[in-house]
Subunit: 219 residues, 2 copies
């Protein structure tokens, strides 16, 4: 039976949604490994990175096949090339979830520096952005994509705030330095996760509206 382009597209969307859900879960579990000080969860996230990598390769191959077999034009062409790029962004988010777990494992060797309040909040924002960016792509919803772009400022502000707080810990008591630095890395990873969600959202706006807004929005 001959497959139709629309069926293939639907399958591609499903695969990206699956990948997005997996990646969101990676980030959530990474945070759990930090907050619950649970190394088993951290190791799980690190192991699951393979699954995301496999999906990335699959999406890439699927897109190349679609381009070769159906030679889509205009909107469809843009959808397929955007899917390839989004898959790369998702894979990088999964790498960052892995990095969070690595730092969490290191932090587990020492007493907890402080109760974590802003970091989980930041993680919540960042994962929400990832989920919404993927939804915006699959639904071709540039309004939703633009909302994701706005949320990025909030994550950046939280990162700044966390950094300042950790800096004051370090200056007051040098014994906290190595822990504070690790926590500032985690905060930075979360900020980069939000940046990847922003990249996805920008790609969606471009795909839907034909306007390139990456590089035009002030950082």
């Amino acid at each position: 039976m001959q497959r139709h382009f629309d069926d293939e597209l639907r399958e591609l969307k499903q695969k990206l949604l699956r990948m997005g859900a997996l990646v969101e879960n990676q980030v959530r579990q990474a945070l759990m490994s930090l907050i619950e000080r649970d190394e088993t969860v951290a190791q799980e996230v690190i192991a699951n990175d393979r699954q995301v990598n496999t999906l990335d390769v699959e999406v890439d191959e699927t897109c190349l096949e679609l381009l070769a077999l159906f030679q889509p034009a205009a909107r469809d062409l843009r959808f397929v090339t955007t899917a390839m790029k989004i898959s790369t962004e998702l894979e990088r988010i999964s790498d960052l979830a892995e990095n969070i777990c690595e730092r969490a494992i290191e932090l587990n060797q020492e007493p907890q520096l402080k109760p974590y309040i802003d970091i989980p909040l930041m993680a919540e924002h960042a994962t929400k952005m990832v989920g919404e960016a993927i939804d915006a792509f699959v639904r071709g919803d540039s309004m939703l994509a633009r909302r994701v772009l706005k949320d990025d400022d909030h994550v950046d502000a939280l990162n700044e705030q966390i950094f300042r707080e950790l800096l004051s810990f370090m200056i007051e008591n040098p014994q906290t330095i190595s822990r504070a630095i690790r926590l500032s890395f985690i905060s930075k990873y979360l900020e980069r996760i939000a940046d990847h969600a922003t990249n996805i959202a920008e790609l969606v706006v471009y795909m839907v509206e034909g306007k390139i807004i990456r590089h035009t929005i002030p950082a």
Copy 2:
């Protein structure tokens, strides 16, 4: 006059080489702004980021046009989709050069913490990797690309070493903390530049050999 696909490909390669050279130069100048404590150079790099962004958009549009007009297959198709991805990587490198300059400007407000030895060395390695990765792409040289992959270990090791040294500064004298942290950020940015070069090199190996080696090489 009808244009031929080969002419278009040649032009695309030229554009990517130009973009690569521009980005390499951004990183070199960013380092100069740090070492010479020269804010003017830093501001220049930040301003030049626009040029790289414009080239990124141009490469993207060119690739979409090539796909739509010529519907390339097999090797050519892979070349064009790889070019799109490489352009994104280059644009991110330029962003990181900008980040280096931002930290350099901040560091210029205070006395220099220490003579910079390893950071320039790291920058040299990283820019070399970027240049070689682009060359490998344009020439379709997977041997060269594999060499780039190996160099990444060296940059990672330098980053580790720099971080340890800066950590000892911070612990010995809390007054160095904010400078040491900024320097560790610069070191991290350079490591990420090398990572982007690695991404490009992995894409080249895949394009040439048809083997996906991203995700298979131990981090």
